[in-house]
């Protein structure tokens, strides 16, 4: 009985860790795509660097925001 409760608690913590990890994978993929496309765009049109950079930061902030929601939720759940 006690062992199963302890195991359940351990599983809950494991879930928090895995959740944060998955969120990070998603954000990594998203920001990687944004960064890659921005590099492509800058290579093609170096004169538009400023505008591209601003929009790149803006978009990656949105992606990052999503991931941070998940990570904050996991951080609050972990005991």
């Amino acid at each position: 009985m006690i062992i199963s409760i302890l195991a359940a608690e351990g599983l809950a913590q494991l879930g928090c860790g895995i959740g944060a990890g998955i969120a990070t994978i998603g954000a990594g993929l998203g920001i990687g795509k944004i960064g890659g496309s921005a590099m492509d765009a800058i290579a093609r049109q170096p004169e538009a660097t400023g505008k591209i950079q601003t929009n790149m930061i803006l978009t990656s902030a949105f992606v990052e925001g999503c991931a941070l929601f998940a990570i904050a939720a996991c951080a609050f759940l972990i005991k």
């Binding site: 601003t54 930061i57 803006l58 902030a61 949105f62 925001g65 941070l68 990570i71 904050a72 951080a75």
Partner: protein, 349 residues
């Protein structure tokens, strides 16, 4: 040079604040509890802890101001001389609670905590910097000569935020009334982030990693977006250009989603700044704790882990310098973009 001297004087004045030794009440346990140490540094506190040595703690006392729920009296003291019905509640993260009868209630607590003191320090720093810069413009003709040195550097940052970020995000027509607010927010967040990275006393509190602070900043942005929004913005929310059955009867989904968006925009700002800064502080503190963990395991582990953790610490601190700037920049930019969205002139197809 004169301002440099006055800043130095200010720092010395802070160092002369009487520091006191407080004996530890219980014997320190030998076990290192790293999550405990990290969480303690991240949380707000009623005194500014500097160092501990053999059970003695060196800390700067901060004023505690509480109103008793029982008698209605205001108490003014430090953490060291907390009067009887009050106590630091362990189960409520060390906040002050009061015993009324058999119950524990939270009294009205207006204490100058570590975070508040740190904000005041940041405000003093900002006022010193900007008033001294403003004086240059009073004494010189900014149209015929350019500022040099420190004033020039500040002007460069201000112009970068003002022109590239605020003006281009909100638009030529409407940016003027919002520029002071957005510049203030940018420099407040930047200075707080940078000062939070300095580890010793008159700096180093985790201010922007405290969700109350970011909540307030995001709340101000929400007010700035919604109070002065134009007709187009509210029309987009309550009467967007979608089929009638989606916005009136039987399923008013679009207004609900749009209203939800009004709240989630500032909520995302709040969580982003909070999570980034808290995570940064937590990682740096964890690497610092690795040093002590290493030495507690033995000399060999100590030397090996020290090398590893100091390299990682340097790397993380450099990364955090970047993050400090990027987060201030992103907060200001997103605020400006959202304000700009509330001032659209015509419906963009």
């Amino acid at each position: 040079m004169k301002h440099f001297k006055s800043i130095l004087l200010l720092l010395v004045a802070f160092l002369l604040i009487p520091v006191q030794h407080i004996h530890a009440e219980e014997a320190e346990s030998k076990e290192l509890d790293i999550p405990e140490i990290v969480l303690e540094h991240l949380a707000d506190a009623y005194e500014w802890h500097i160092a501990s040595y053999e059970g003695k703690h060196l800390s700067v006392p901060l004023p505690i101001i509480v109103r008793s729920e029982n008698t209605g009296e205001w108490h003014f003291c430090t953490a060291h001389s907390l009067p009887e019905p009050f106590f630091f509640s362990e189960e409520h993260h060390g906040k002050i609670y009061e015993r009324v009868g058999g119950e524990e209630v939270r009294p009205i607590d207006l204490s100058i905590t570590k975070t508040v003191a740190q904000i005041w320090i940041v405000v003093i720093v900002l006022i010193t910097i900007f008033l001294s810069c403003a004086r240059w413009y009073k004494r010189h003709d900014a149209h015929s000569e350019a500022p040099k040195g420190f004033v020039g550097a500040i002007e460069m940052v201000v112009m970068m935020i003002h022109d590239d970020l605020i003006k281009s995000s909100i638009g030529e027509k409407h940016y003027k009334p919002y520029a002071p607010y957005l510049l203030t927010v940018f420099f407040f967040i930047l200075t707080t982030n940078l000062i939070g990275l300095i580890p010793i006393f008159p700096a180093g509190a985790n201010v922007t990693g405290n969700i109350n602070i970011t909540f307030f900043l995001a709340f101000c942005t929400m007010l700035a977006i919604n109070i002065f929004a134009n007709k187009e913005y509210w029309k987009e929310i309550f009467w967007p250009e979608v089929p009638l059955f989606l916005k009136a009867y039987p399923a008013p989904i679009m207004p609900v989603i749009e209203l939800f968006g009004v709240i989630t925009k500032p909520f995302a700002l709040m969580i982003r700044l909070f999570a980034n800064m808290m995570a940064g502080h937590a990682v740096i503190l964890s690497f610092t704790c690795v040093i002590f963990l290493g030495w507690s395991m033995g000399v060999g582990y100590g030397i090996g882990l020290n090398t590893f953790s100091i390299i990682m610490l340097l790397f993380m601190n450099c990364l955090e310098l970047l993050v400090a700037f990027v987060q201030a920049y992103v907060f200001t930019m997103l605020s400006a973009v959202f304000i700009g969205l509330a001032h659209k002139d015509h419906h963009a197809e």
